[in-house]
């Protein structure tokens, strides 16, 4: 029976490329690459790595970015939840609006969000324009290094903007499991103020449930390439960007030091995770101490306002960033201190259209292939779980593996060997690479709905004479159509946002909307960047719109279908 083999297939898809890629990167990192004449193990690549100028600064920035970004994002999410989790909020309150705006935020690709943020904060960006010259007296853009600042502050801010929605959604999904409402009520009846109550009794139960997503954020922030290219420091850049630059070097001899760098990135991310784990231990001790002291209202008001204000700021900045993208894409003549462009025109857009066509098609083909495969595999795995009545307990850690190991570390190994055996870039290889990152998200999105479906539906159908397969096709699939489409839309969005897998596995010769947009960053043509990022940001929305509209259309005469999510 094919279904029985599914876990093995899923493991093979998720684990083998990661392990193989790491080994394939490890060998050239120690000088072994027979095709290029490297037949002896040597430490030479590492010596060159440590001797390259600015390398420790690159390492430091990557390290700090990961810890600061994750710490700040988590702080914002927890303080916001402490502010809203304490009470029932009205349907149209600020809190419920923020919650609703967060999920579309999550679907905006990292690169597009980063460009939007850059267009806001750069010296000639939207924010400076709005306060100039009135407040600042600036008649021309100030000579400040805001974007690409050497400490990586704008990189951290840009990442926080994307990671807060992710952690918030993960927390909201986990909250029902910890009985947050009852816990808070109990603590409040003992005299604790609502925000303090949430942090003291809900937070410690919630954190273990979102630990893996937090680790994924750490790994991502320590190794992101596209966001760091757009917002991060340049001389030297973050470690991940530096490694990619080495891989792109036409001199093949640089492959050795690049591979050493890829392994260094792996070690760096591991160190970041270890460091975070130490923080966790410390935080849990301090938290226990804080709880034992029994303060009822310590800083309650500040905690809650901090949560609300920062969360509003995140949503506001993301929204303004999106607007900045659109403004830049359609701006006519736009002199510096002017707050708005003198005119709007779609000329540039129509001129860019012919060049957009091919990359757009490539993007869609890759995303569709990866998403369809991922959805089929995930449904098969969940269906198997339903029929056997058991879930593989280690599955969750394996799912997160491609999200915890830095992309550059294992993708580079695969790329080098693909290059060496001259397989050439192929859409299939790129789509397979995307599958690695699409599959985990599709699984996480669908598993809950699949497991929650009332088991009586299938029992009833079987007692009426349907076989297992009949139940699947005639009952489970139609009932779960909406969640399946939503999971597919998420997978689609994840594929759209992938930069490095496309860049590396496509050997720079497969162009998607995303690789093109990031490549434009260096050129600095804001109109073009605006157009490409806008297209990139809108694609996931189209996916989600279809996922919402289609079930509504198919089941328009079936009121009972609206309750199943």
């Amino acid at each position: 029976m094919i279904l029985r083999l599914i876990p093995v297939v899923v493991i093979a898809i998720l684990v083998l490329p990661v392990l193989a890629g790491l080994i394939l990167a490890l060998l050239p990192a120690f000088g072994y690459l027979p095709v290029l004449g490297g037949e002896q193990l040597t430490l030479e690549p590492w010596l060159r790595l440590f001797a390259s100028p600015g390398i420790w600064r690159s390492v430091g920035v990557s390290y700090a970015t990961a810890l600061v970004t994750t710490g700040l994002s988590l702080l914002i999410v927890f303080c916001f939840l402490a502010a809203v989790g304490a009470r029932q909020s009205g349907r149209w309150s600020l809190d419920s609006w923020l919650r609703r705006l967060v999920s579309p935020l999550l679907s905006v690709p990292h690169a597009a969000a980063a460009f939007g943020f850059a267009f806001l904060i750069m010296p000639s960006g939207l924010l400076t324009r709005w306060i100039s010259p009135g407040l600042t007296g600036w008649e021309r853009p100030p000579d400040l290094l805001i974007v690409h600042d050497s400490l990586g502050l704008s990189l951290m801010a840009g990442l926080v903007m994307k990671e807060v929605p992710f952690l918030l959604l993960m927390s909201l999904a986990a909250l029902p499991q910890v009985n947050a409402g009852q816990r808070v009520i109990m603590a409040r009846s003992l005299g604790y103020r609502p925000g303090v109550a949430w942090l003291k009794v809900v937070a410690p139960a919630l954190y273990p449930l979102i630990r893996l997503p937090v680790y994924a954020v750490l790994a991502f922030a320590s190794s992101t390439v596209d966001v760091a290219m757009i917002l991060g420091p340049t001389l030297p850049p973050t470690l991940s960007v530096q490694v990619v630059q080495w891989f792109n070097d036409p001199d093949l001899g640089t492959l050795y030091v690049a591979s050493a760098g890829a392994i260094a990135q792996l070690l760096l991310t591991a160190a970041v995770l270890l460091n975070w784990w130490l923080f966790e231990q410390l935080a849990s001790r301090l938290h226990a101490l804080w709880v034992r002291r029994g303060h009822r209202s310590f800083a309650d008001r500040s905690i809650r306002s901090f949560g609300r204000v920062t969360m509003s700021l995140v949503v506001l900045m993301a929204g303004l960033g999106f607007m900045a993208l659109a403004l830049n894409a359609f701006a006519g003549f736009w002199r510096f201190p002017a707050a708005w462009p003198a005119s709007l025109s779609a000329d540039a857009f129509f001129r860019a259209l012919p060049t957009l066509q091919d990359p757009l098609l490539t993007t869609l083909v890759i995303a569709a292939a990866a998403t369809i495969l991922a959805v089929l595999l995930v449904i098969a795995a969940l269906e198997r779980e339903q029929r056997l009545g058991v879930a593989a307990p280690w599955a969750l850690w394996l799912l997160y593996l491609p999200l915890l190991v830095p992309q550059i570390a294992f993708l580079s190994g695969i790329t080098v060997s693909a290059e060496v055996i001259q397989s050439g870039p192929s859409l299939a290889l790129v789509a397979a690479g995307h599958l690695l990152f699409v599959l985990p998200y599709v699984y996480l999105a669908l598993a809950e709905s699949y497991r929650r479906l009332d088991p009586r539906w299938s029992q009833l159908a079987r007692s009426l004479g349907s076989s297992m397969n009949g139940v699947f096709w005639r009952v489970r699939l139609p009932l779960l159509l909406a969640p399946i489409l939503t999971a597919a839309a998420l997978g689609f969005a994840i594929s759209i946002s992938q930069y490095l897998p496309t860049r590396l596995l496509g050997a720079g010769r497969i162009t998607t909307v995303t690789t093109e947009a990031v490549a434009l960053a260096a050129g600095g043509d804001r109109r073009l960047i605006g157009i490409w990022s806008l297209v990139q940001a809108l694609l996931p929305f189209v996916g989600f719109a279809v996922a919402i509209a289609l079930p509504g259309l198919i089941w328009r005469n079936r009121r009972g279908m609206r309750e199943i999510q």
Partner: protein, 209 residues
């Protein structure tokens, strides 16, 4: 119509080596066996076992015989045991007729006509294309019963089937269900909290503790 027989031969259900329930009973065609008892006494587990959905955590011994056939380990769709739950559980993605059609045994020469006839039998002629969500509670319960009957079961399990209906409907549905089941000669196990159900069933009553 040929009457069927259901025999539970020394059925014992255990959860982690703890005996939940032991039962030995024979049901003639059209006979209703009522099982009463508090939650946790194992009555739902018994139904799950007979229907073929016993969760893996439980262990069962003994035999379930239906018309001389041992159905203890026959898969649920082949055992010929039908189920009626607390909720009517009409498939929300199918029309009323679609739900009946789902129950109808395959290979019927004129399925459409049979479905129409079935609708007429429960006083719902012309309701075939309706969304089940637009039916009243009583109408849904009747469709649910008819769907069960169309699948031509040889024995039926009732899991508190009337507990969610309001009082006036309850008596009516009881009568309808038992009338159809006994007239078809179906041995029936009824699990309930309600003594009135047990009285209406007019069969033996087993109380579990």
């Amino acid at each position: 119509m040929k009457a069927h027989e259901l025999h539970l031969q020394q059925v014992r259900l255990c959860l982690q080596d703890k005996l939940l329930l032991a039962l030995d009973a024979s049901l003639a065609g059209g006979e209703v066996l009522t099982i009463m008892g508090p939650s946790g006494s194992g009555k739902s587990t018994l139904l799950a076992h007979v229907a073929g959905f016993l969760p893996p955590a439980f262990r069962a011994s003994g035999k379930v015989m239906l018309d001389d056939e041992d159905i203890t380990s026959v898969s649920a769709e082949r055992s010929g045991v039908g189920l009626l739950f607390q909720d009517p559980l009409l498939f929300p993605h199918l029309s009323v007729a679609g739900n009946l059609r789902f129950g109808l045994v395959p290979g019927h020469p004129k399925p459409q006509m049979r479905v129409e006839q079935a609708l007429a039998e429960i006083g719902l002629s012309g309701f075939g294309s309706r969304d089940p969500e637009t039916l009243s509670g009583g109408q849904r319960a009747r469709v649910s019963l008819m769907r069960l009957l169309l699948s031509e079961p040889r024995a039926v399990l009732l899991d508190e089937p009337f507990s969610k209906l309001d009082r006036s409907l309850r008596a009516e549905m009881r009568q309808l269900v038992f009338e159809h089941l006994t007239s078809r000669g179906l041995p029936t196990i009824l699990v309930t909290h309600d003594h009135e159900d047990a009285e209406a069933a007019r069969g033996r009553v087993i109380e579990l503790f």
